[in-house]
């Protein structure tokens, strides 16, 4: 019998019951809750007179709607405020732990979970948010769900699921200077497409993935959903175990030792069978920039905007034409000629301490270009912010004319006050360049923190590999 993949192991460890048609009742170890996708789930519990099955397995934090400045003044938008207050009220009523806006631990749910050790290797983790795939960086089976399933997981600690297929993406070799986890994952999406991972759980492996920090692995798994896969995984190694040691919610003492022994088996067996294998050569990956309105519309920074006329598939060609029109770009235009109006460094993809360090390293001693209206630096959590300030990163950003903000989702999806104006180009470290995502008519270019910071200084995209040969992942 063939060995098991990491995904097979995680799945098998959580099956409560299997139906004849293959659908399974899967046990959920951890549910993360935020204000946007939970109110209707709590209403559902109330209407049915149900209580959470195991209340301690839930952890809540408001992130999507929270302001990133003037926190002391509360939330100005009454609709946003009601949503955050509703989360507070629901958590109080059902006795669920919540890090509220005044708590230093508050932040983006996918930054807070690992940071607290609330999401651990070997767990099943769900959240009403597609970027839950982030937590797979620690070999947790983590995936986004809708609100009906949020209610289901609250009420039963289980979900009905069908097992996905296994995909292995191997990134062999080492990346060059200026190439980060973000560039690796954008290059992967460029290769397999936004539907390439649909129906699969993707395990990321290979030397270039192993060489990444936990923060870098989170960036890669975060965007598994942008490749269509609900879940991404990276096997446990010493990097994983070192990261979790001493985290507040991580096991302690004998439990820690027992947990580590269990976690050390969380890797694919050498004879495991995958349904699909994709291989990339890390040395060929250059800093990436998206030019269109889907994350798969991505090229290397030294390339040009593609020409729809060269595309044979009529549906794709029309999509490219529509994207160019929306983005206000011309076919064959150089990427480095695209000027940026705003820069956003933050989001569950790239707001961890390492991301901020990368951005700061590129800009130290420089000032943003006059043509750039605003550069937002939004740390992923209060603790990331504290750490960055302890390292003096905030001073580097402020000296460069950047704005140093409070933690939240911010301009990744512009549910709070941080947003683009119509027609503005943004160098953004977030995960989606969909039409209107960062503001009505806004034009998003997805890049790494180093690339975003460099664009802020130059006023247009530049190749960080050339700008600062010392910077690397």
């Amino acid at each position: 019998m063939a060995g098991k993949t990491l995904y097979d192991k995680l799945w098998d460890d959580h099956v409560v019951h299997r139906e004849d048609d293959g659908s399974c009742l899967i046990y959920i170890d951890r549910q993360l809750l935020h204000e946007v996708t939970s109110p209707q789930a709590f209403d559902g519990l109330r209407m049915a007179g149900r209580q959470p099955w195991r209340v301690s397995r839930n952890l809540a934090v408001a992130d999507h709607n929270v302001p990133t400045d003037h926190r002391d003044q509360g939330i100005a938008d009454p609709v946003s405020r009601l949503q955050v207050e509703t989360l507070d009220k629901n958590c109080a009523e059902f006795a669920i732990t919540e890090f509220d806006m005044s708590d230093i631990r508050q932040g983006i749910v996918h930054v807070v979970g690992p940071e607290q050790g609330a999401t651990l290797p070997g767990m099943t983790v769900v959240c009403g948010d597609s970027h839950t795939s982030t937590h797979g960086a620690s070999a947790a089976l983590a995936f986004g769900i809708g609100t009906s399933e949020v209610e289901h997981a609250l009420a039963t600690q289980c979900l009905v699921q069908k097992k996905a297929k296994n995909m292995l993406i191997k990134v062999n070799g080492q990346v060059g200077p200026g190439v980060t986890a973000k560039d690796i994952v954008l290059a992967i999406i460029g290769k397999i497409g936004t539907a390439g991972g649909t129906g699969y759980t993707i395990e990321f492996a290979g030397e270039a993935i192993r060489a990444l920090s936990m923060e870098g692995r989170m960036t890669v798994c975060n965007m598994a959903i942008e490749a269509g896969a609900r879940a991404g995984l990276v096997a446990v190694d010493d990097t994983t175990i070192d990261y979790y040691r001493g985290r507040p919610y991580a096991p302690q003492g004998d439990d820690w030792n027992m947990a580590v022994r269990y976690w050390q088996r969380l890797h694919s067996d050498s004879d495991a069978q995958f349904d699909k294998i994709v291989t990339l050569n890390a040395a060929e990956i250059k800093p990436q920039v998206t030019w269109g309105t889907s994350p798969e519309m991505v090229v290397a920074v030294d390339a040009c905007v593609p020409d729809p006329e060269q595309e044979a598939d009529p549906v794709k060609r029309e999509g490219m034409q529509r994207a160019l029109q929306y983005m206000g770009l011309q076919a064959n235009q150089k990427i480095t000629d695209i000027r940026v109006d705003r820069v956003f460094i933050g989001s569950c993809t790239n707001s961890r301490i390492e991301d901020l360090r990368q951005a700061a390293a590129v800009i130290e001693g420089h000032h943003k270009a006059d043509s750039v209206k605003q550069v937002l630096i939004v740390p992923g959590s209060g603790l990331v912010k504290q750490q960055a300030e302890a390292e003096g990163l905030d001073k580097i950003f402020i000296a460069a004319g950047f704005e140093w903000r409070e933690p939240g989702c911010s301009m990744c999806l512009a549910m709070n006050a941080d947003r683009l104006e119509a027609g503005e180009h943004c160098a953004s470290t977030s995960n989606r360049n969909f039409e209107g995502r960062q503001g009505y008519g806004g034009r998003t270019h997805l890049v790494s923190p180093a690339m975003a910071a460099a664009a802020a200084i130059a006023g247009h995209f530049v190749n960080v590999a050339e700008l600062n040969p010392g910077a690397s992942s």
Binding site: V16, E19, D20, D21, S23, L25, Y27, V36, T37, P39, Q40, D43, G44, R50, S56, V79, L82, Q83, G122, M123, D129, S130, T132, F143, G144, I145, G146, T147, S148, E149, H152, A155, T156, C158, V160, K162, A164, T194, A195, T198, G199, I225, G228, R230, P251, D255, W256, M258, A259, S294, V315, K316, R322, A414, M415, R432, F434, E435, G436, Y440
Partner: protein
Amino acid sequence: MKAFTQLTALVAPLDRANVDTDAIIPKQFLKSIRRAGFGPYLFDEWRYLDRGEPEMDCSNRPLNPDFVLNQPQYQGAQILLTRENFGCGSSREHAPWALEDYGFRAIIAPSFADIFFNNCFKNGVLPIVLSAELVESLFQEISAGYQLSIDLDAQTITTPSGRLIGFNVDENRRHRLLNGLDDIGLTLQQAEKIKAYETERAQRAPWLFKDA
């Protein structure tokens, strides 16, 4: 949840691939704490020429005449015909809520994003996967008044010319949708199995059960 058994209805063609859930229902409407009322804001940025805000009265907003759902021949459509990877992006269940509230009960496409696909079944909306060739043939056939008949029990679609197209839905999902069953109620019937699992798991992974 509303059951889905049979439906004969007008078809609206949305000829785009990779339609994301941000396009289906933009984020500003996600601030609502209710489950209903999203229909008027479905495809808001494509459907209207102005910028939509939550709780806006849509009856006097300027419509985009080029958008398919604003064309007179598609008024009252309950079946949406579209292209690859429909519903990609954000997990927001507000997307199927908006589609259902607008009046759509079935969506036909060559492929769907996984989370969206799953969310549809929780809301009485049937996502049907057909081959790209079959979807293309339906796009070719569409004209004013074009209706399809969908039978979930038989897993068939009948075109106006009488052509019968088969489709496939997982047994478990089909059963739940045909009967409009409450998923949570069904899972709670397995409560003893969940408890037995927890007991057994607490032996293997005691650190997960320390505070309960």
